[in-house]
């Protein structure tokens, strides 16, 4: 693959000066035992992270993170709505001539990175307030995870609907809606919970691109700018914070599964 060679000038610009290298080493505790905790110590003392005024304090970090989590929280119900809608429509498509759409729509959703619908909406919403950019970010972030969930729910729904207990319940005169609500959905729920962890990760990571395009000053924007500006201390703290958030989400999903799925309680007993 052809590469453009770096010119001497741009190469020189990219060289890190000895002072800056020493500053990075000091800030990140490189070469010291438990040195990776150094940025966290600075945050704890209320100091600004990084080697320039573009760094961030703990309070600012928490505020930006809460903004991104807020966008993710708005995106989750939207994703569930997409999922339910797509699962029901896909079940109908399976029976008719539109069966191929059941494959094409997920590919279309998956093949569309979050930044593309964000770009398409951006001219209309960037300058407007009243939470419209946040809602738009949540909407564009939720499309692919919603369709993905819908595919899983649709498959689980079809499997459950073809089981004997459904036929028995219908044969005994129960209304189809009651069978769906009382018997089928509780059995579909674990499949949904299995996917919530990865979907939450996708929603939070997807909001990075949406925030960048729509100009939202939250965690995603902070992260991308920190990487672009090589603010290593900020990247270290932001990455560990984000990973901790994902662990908390996974634990939350496990607790929820324990509460709603009797089979998981039996498996542990």
């Amino acid at each position: 693959m052809a590469m453009l060679p770096l010119t001497t000038e741009s190469d020189a610009k990219r060289q890190v000066s000895p002072e800056l290298a020493a500053s990075y080493k000091r800030d990140l505790g490189i070469g010291e035992p438990l040195g990776f905790l150094r940025p966290w110590e600075k945050l704890w003392r209320g100091e600004r992270l990084g080697t320039s005024a573009q760094g961030i304090t703990g309070d600012e970090l928490a505020r930006k993170l809460s903004g991104s989590v807020g966008v993710g929280m708005m995106a989750l119900p939207l994703a569930l709505a997409w999922a339910l809608g797509f699962a029901l429509v896909r079940t109908q498509w399976r029976k008719g001539r539109w069966a191929a759409l059941g494959d094409i729509v997920p590919a279309l959703a998956f093949g569309t990175p979050v930044f593309i619908p964000a770009l398409l909406f951006a001219p209309a919403v960037v300058e407007r307030g009243h939470m419209l950019p946040e809602l738009t970010a949540a909407l564009v972030t939720s499309i692919w995870p919603g369709i993905f969930l819908g595919t899983l729910v649709g498959d689980a729904l079809e499997t459950e609907l073809s089981r004997d207990y459904v036929r028995t319940a219908l044969g005994k005169g129960l209304a189809p809606g009651t069978v769906l609500r009382r018997h089928v959905l509780p059995n579909v729920l674990p499949a949904l919970l299995d996917a919530v962890g990865p979907v939450a990760t996708t929603l939070l990571a997807g909001s990075f691109a949406a925030e960048r395009v729509l100009g939202l000053p939250y965690f995603g924007q902070l992260y991308v700018l920190a990487v672009l500006n090589k603010q290593v201390a900020v990247v270290v703290v932001a990455t560990t914070t984000f990973a901790s958030l994902l662990v908390i989400v996974s634990l939350g999903v496990e607790v929820l599964r324990h509460v709603v799925d009797p089979r998981s309680r039996e498996a542990r007993a």
């Binding site: 453009l4 590919a107 998956f110 990175p113 960037v126 991308v224």
Partner: protein, 270 residues
């Protein structure tokens, strides 16, 4: 070819067609493409037409996807094979490590790896990796965990079959069974897993490049979209962005169709 399901055939035809199109249009005859492009020039790069940038980007994105997907699948296959050969507590430990890597969000980790790789390159310790190699390595380092889990589960299923029990009873060792009996049965599935990694690698690369983090030249589809998005926002230039989007969707559609059909098709194990 008759053993390949028709949906998989459509997907493979679409993928190969896009590859050939990008090679012919974007690399072999760029002058003809530039003169015949109905979409005009890119406002951000007036020296290039939209068609040149889109098809050139498709070629680069496809190359990144194929290399990163192939490398990630190979690493996943090796990890799964080693885990199954070791068995017991070692296998469980390896699987927990695989789960930990799998839980990481691709885009973030690739961004961090790009930052680290570029810093090393700037300090003169890149080990010969250019921006393309760095991106492929980053994507492969992130993308091996999914295939490793899938291959491990498939190997465990195959090992439960009678022909493996018979081979064991006849004194076949672990590596012999893996090489002679399991690998032929796993090969078509490995192709399906590779095809499922292809769109993920392409989309992750697109997102990271869109942010302006990767320095790849010639530009991939993601980098092209990242440098041209001002045109869409401020000049209503959907003509600039929509072709690249359509190419991305077609790539993913081809890979998804082929991967799903190949992994779902029942195959006789002999």
């Amino acid at each position: 070819m008759s053993a390949v399901p028709s949906r998989a055939r459509w997907g493979l035809v679409l993928l190969v067609g896009l590859g050939v199109l990008s090679l012919v249009a974007g690399r072999l005859f760029p002058e003809q493409l530039a003169s015949a492009c109905p979409l005009g020039v890119d406002p951000m790069r007036p020296d290039r037409t939209v068609c040149e940038l889109a098809f050139g980007g498709l070629w680069v994105s496809l190359a990144v996807g194929l290399c990163a997907g192939g490398l990630g699948t190979l690493i996943g296959l090796l990890v799964a094979a080693v885990a199954r050969l070791l068995g017991g507590a070692w296998e469980q430990t390896i699987l927990r490590g695989v789960d930990a890597v799998f839980a990481l969000p691709d885009v973030l980790v690739v961004m961090v790896l790009q930052l680290a790789g570029q810093s090393l390159a700037d300090a003169g310790h890149s080990g010969g990796l250019g921006p393309f190699g760095l991106m492929v390595a980053s994507l492969a380092l992130v993308g091996w965990a999914g295939p490793a889990r899938i291959f491990r589960n498939r190997l465990a299923t195959l090992e439960g079959q009678e022909f493996v029990a018979a081979a064991r009873a006849l004194g076949g060792g672990g590596t012999h069974i893996l090489r002679v009996h399991l690998w032929p049965a796993l090969r078509p599935f490995a192709l399906a897993v590779f095809l499922s990694r292809l769109p993920t690698a392409i989309l992750t690369e697109s997102t990271v490049s869109f942010f302006g983090i990767a320095r790849m030249e010639p530009m991939s589809l993601g980098r092209y979209l990242g440098t041209s998005y001002a045109a869409l926002i401020y000049e209503g230039g959907s003509r600039v962005v929509l072709p690249a989007w359509a190419l991305l969707v077609l790539l993913v559609l081809g890979a998804s169709l082929a991967s799903q059909a190949l992994s779902a098709s029942p195959r006789k194990v002999t």
